[in-house]
């Protein structure tokens, strides 16, 4: 995880390990029908890479009344 760090060759495994600590398991075991929200572009991309789930940005989840 952590921005471009996770894309770096020498850091690929550490970045997956960090994700597996809590985030990826939480994403995989979420209740059915739950969308995952992540505001960072590389967070979304790396979550998708590791879990196959496509997260959305917070701004995509809510609208006002106007």
């Amino acid at each position: 995880m952590a921005g471009s760090f996770g894309y770096e060759k020498d850091h690929y495994d550490l970045s997956l390990a960090v994700g597996e600590d809590r985030l990826f398991p939480a994403v995989r075991s979420r209740a059915v029908g739950t969308a995952v929200v992540a505001c960072g572009f590389s967070c979304r991309h790396q979550i998708a890479h590791a879990t196959g789930v496509r997260p959305v940005h917070f701004v995509e989840t809510i609208r006002g009344c106007q």
Binding site: A26, R30, I62, G64, C65
Partner: protein, 884 residues
């Protein structure tokens, strides 16, 4: 020493560290001292420990066992072979639920042990503030205790047995014996027999003196625990090892007593006008048999209420108290505990001791109070500019009745030296940690420290207290032992030491035969170096780069193995070098010239920062808020200057520009090509992008192009002149156009007119890859463009958290014009933070809508680092029926 290290290497299959950097990482704990060890061994199993001890003994090299290294007095600091149990000797060996006991290896973290025990309703009860990283071996070594010691006592009250390894290589399991069994065993020729025999002999001869000289406070942690043997005929020498600070033997296995988890808890928080009123009330509060009484002084209260992160939790404080006590009660149920809390509140009101005493029974409410106690302390410890709250008189335990006068006198002693002091901790047992603010790089302050210590020592004697109540002796208090306990007891300490360790190899200079307490101060190296290291960032709040590094005081919250997120690289590798503390110590070694002439650009330093994710978790979770991500930038830039930047870093730093070219019409082609095997090999080879990663795909139509095509002419005039600027970041522009469109729609749906702020790159890629000079230059332009909006009073909103943190936090400290930096920083917002703020002010009317039913939020690490990670949930909580 080379022969010694060679012997270690050839006999041990585990890590043996003797390079300059590794030794610097093990030269300190959380106290004031620094001594470079000879070498460090990280054993995988007992065989490694046995072999290491044998070789050290053969070479006459002293030995220091080490756990989390969070001692406050230099207990694990010395010119010795350090044996670090924490990384690999940390297993639970067996649990006996019926007998309520557990057997563990010494390197297990206290909270990890308890997490494993919780499902059985049991816990290892002593709870030092460092429980998230303190090892059981270290807790036994220091005889640690904590907030609830009034119920649970100290670690010595929970140690059942220790299988110990002596420096001579002998192994003995110490446990409790009846007097008959003791007598049978206490006979030479075995080593155990000799120790049991002579110890009893020596102890009985001085029984009266022990009764006379050992202070009668519940919290006594100094010297050896001889008082455990005077009023009982069931002797357990494991209780002598408790608190022996590694000076007698190494623990290989430890057996502990377990306690049932409390079934109910509640808090009462009496408010007072002044600290002295609070302290005076403690004695009456104790009649109600609380499980904890902790002090929040006025300084902590003020800071906790003004700090953004703690303010939302500090709402249990009413009015403007000058002090408060946190009084906890255990009960059969939460209701039962609450009744006790209420009865205390009623009594305090009745007797006119205090009028305001809110009660909290719900879990969340209680947690908020404890969080404020914890982080409030961090805030205080971080305050003080160049002066730091130094631990040296902090550990006195005073009879509770005498506590008010003692505290008055100590504060007067500090004031007479021109020093203000932070005051916190365990009022229940008379252990209030007083830490005077001093700058030990300044020789005059070292002299002041000596004066304060001497006067306080006399006060402690006068009030019948203990010089050490909790943290132990280490290098900071051992030198006072003879004066404190008197000649006879001190001689007895010497004999005890000699019985176990006749060669004097185990952690020498602690408890007995200690050097003066102002030797080997960790600030000494910096005083000698006496220089200011140049930096790219300004570190204005911290008082310069050197002070920013010195802020790390080694408390080791970055070694916590659970809770929070700091520090992910340590959690993954469990190497000291990959912790935030390791990085701070590596930098300290560099700026004091220990890593060579150009230490700031050395391979060693690069190694320390290699696995730092620049996540900034340390920025918010470290009690003194060090920012290792900034430091990593400093190191990388110097490295680029010396060796030239690696191509991969240059490519990644240039990606925003590349992305600008690749997105749009070229995108289909680039997307197809970049996934081909040859392209991946090239990217891996030159850009260092791991070929296993899927790559983000470029957008075929840029956000701004799409915006203009679909929305131009639709500039919805904002409601009541509401206008905001949306920062167009690289990602929404070139990859994830949907985010940009959604942001515009969202803002318009709340009645804002949206202007696009095309201000250039936030510089995050350059900042992360150590191109600080370029980032400062280019970032100055970005900031200049944003300034135009901000000067017109238009807030700039950012969707990408990494960009926002660059604009709010990093660039302002990096560019040469600090003034414009801070003004822009104040006008740029994370989009969710902005909306949450407007919502709180009542500016956003509902109803809010969402097409989703349930959401799982992953907060970006930089979002958490700058506070307010809860903003998103707060906004989303207003959507009817949405589960977050």
């Amino acid at each position: 020493m080379d022969a010694f290290v060679q012997d270690l290497r050839s006999s041990l299959s585990c890590e043996v560290l003797d390079d300059v950097l590794s030794r610097a990482l093990y030269a300190t704990d959380a106290g004031n001292y620094e001594i470079t060890p000879v070498a460090v061994v990280v054993p995988r199993a007992e065989e490694d420990v046995r072999a290491a001890v044998k070789i050290a003994a053969a070479h006459g090299v002293p030995i220091i066992p080490r756990g989390g290294g969070t001692s406050l007095g230099g207990q694990v600091v010395g010119r010795a072979l350090v044996i670090d149990f924490s990384k690999r000797m940390n297993r639970i060996l067996s649990i006996d639920e019926a007998a309520r006991t557990v057997r563990v290896e010494p390197g297990i973290v206290r909270d990890e042990l308890n997490a494993a025990l919780a499902p059985r309703g049991l816990h290892f009860a002593p709870d030092p503030a460092t429980s998230s990283r303190a090892n059981v071996g270290g807790m036994v070594g220091n005889n640690s205790s904590g907030t609830r010691s009034i119920v649970y006592g100290k670690t010595v009250d929970h140690v059942r047995a220790v299988r110990a390894l002596l420096a001579c290589g002998e192994e003995i399991e110490f446990r409790e014996f009846s007097s008959g069994e003791y007598a049978r065993r206490a006979a030479p020729p075995t080593r155990e027999g000799e120790i049991l025999f002579r110890f009893r002999d020596a102890l009985l001869a001085s029984k009266e003196e022990i009764e006379r000289r050992f202070p009668k406070v519940m919290r006594r942690a100094g010297g050896y625990n001889l008082d455990e043997f005077v009023r009982t005929d069931r002797w357990n020498l494991a209780k002598l090892l408790a608190g022996s600070e590694g000076t007698l033997a190494l623990s290989l296995e430890i057996e502990l007593n377990l306690e049932p988890l409390p079934s109910g808890t509640a808090l009462c928080i009496p408010h007072f006008a002044a600290v002295s009123d609070a302290i005076r009330a403690v004695a009456s509060i104790l009649d109600h048999r609380p499980s904890a009484v902790e002090l929040l002084d006025g300084v902590v209260i003020d800071m906790a209420r003004t700090n953004r992160a703690t303010a939302p939790k500090a709402t249990f404080l009413e009015g403007n108290p000058g002090a408060a006590l946190i009084v906890e009660f255990f009960g059969e149920s939460d209701g039962d505990a609450e009744r006790k809390a209420r009865s205390l509140a009623a009594r305090l009101a009745r007797e006119g001791i205090c009028a305001v005493a809110p009660v909290r029974r719900d879990r969340a409410g209680q947690r908020a109070v404890w969080d404020v106690r914890k982080s409030g302390l961090g805030l205080v410890l971080a305050a003080g500019g160049g002066k730091k709250p130094v631990p040296f008189i902090e550990d006195a335990a005073i009879p509770v009745e005498a506590l008010p006068e003692y505290i008055d006198e100590v504060l007067a002693v500090c004031a007479a030296q021109g020093s203000r002091a932070a005051l916190y901790a365990h009022a229940s047992v008379g252990v209030l940690h007083v830490r005077p603010f001093l700058d030990l790089t300044n020789r005059a302050d070292v002299e002041r420290m000596k004066v304060i210590a001497e006067r306080t020592f006399r006060l402690v004697r006068k009030y019948g207290g203990s010089w050490s109540g909790e943290h132990g002796d280490g290098l900071v208090r051992s030198a006072w032992m003879e004066r404190f306990y008197g000649r006879e007891i001190y001689d007895l300490f010497r004999r005890v030491k000699h019985l176990f360790d006749p060669e004097g190899l185990m952690n020498p200079g602690k408890i007995i035969d200690a050097p003066p307490f102002d030797t080997a101060l960790r600030t000494g190296a910096r005083t000698a170096a006496g220089r200011r290291t140049d930096s790219f960032y300004r570190y204005g709040d911290e008082g310069g780069f050197d002070s920013a590094i010195d802020r790390c005081n080694g408390v080791g919250a970055c070694r916590a193995t659970a809770g929070g997120v700091m520090c992910p690289s340590y959690r993954a590798t469990r190497n000291e070098i990959d912790s935030t503390r390791g990085r701070a110590n590596a930098l300290r070694a560099a700026i004091t010239g220990r890593l060579g002439d150009d230490g700031m650009a050395s391979d060693d330093l690069l190694r320390a920062f290699d696995l730092c994710l620049s996540c900034k978790a340390c920025r918010s979770e470290c009690p003194v808020n060090v920012d290792a991500a900034r430091w990593k930038g400093e190191v990388l830039q110097r490295r680029h200057d010396r060796c030239g930047a690696p191509l991969s870093a240059k490519i990644v730093a240039a990606l925003p520009r590349v992305a600008g070219i690749c997105s749009g019409p070229l995108a289909p082609l680039v997307n197809a090509v970049q996934e081909t095997a040859p392209a991946r090999r090239i990217l891996e080879r030159f850009a260092g992008i791991d070929a296993r990663r899927t790559l983000p795909r470029f957008a075929t139509e840029k956000f701004t192009a799409r915006y203009e095509r679909t929305r131009s002419g639709r500039l919805a005039g904002g409601k009541d002149g509401r206008r905001v600027a949306l920062f167009v970041d690289t990602y929404m522009e070139n990859y994830d156009v949907a985010v940009g469109i959604a942001a515009v729609e969202l803002l318009e749906s709340f009645g804002f007119e949206v202007i696009l702020a095309r201000a250039g790159c936030c510089q995050r890629p350059r900042i992360s890859h150590g191109f600080l000079r370029d980032a400062a230059r280019q970032g100055r332009k970005t900031i200049g463009r944003l300034d135009r909006f901000i000067r017109e009073g238009i807030p700039v909103l950012v969707c990408e958290p990494g960009c926002a943190s660059a604009l709010i936090d990093d660039l302002p400290a990096l560019i040469d014009d600090g003034a414009i930096g801070s003004s822009v920083a104040a006008g740029v917002f994370f989009i969710d933070a902005f909306l949450a703020e407007r919502m709180r002010e009542g500016d956003l009317e509902g109803p809010f809508r969402s097409e989703y039913g349930k959401l799982l939020i992953h907060a970006h690490c930089h979002r958490k680092a700058l506070g307010g990670a809860g903003d998103m949930s707060e906004i989303l909580s207003l959507v009817a029926g949405l589960e977050v």
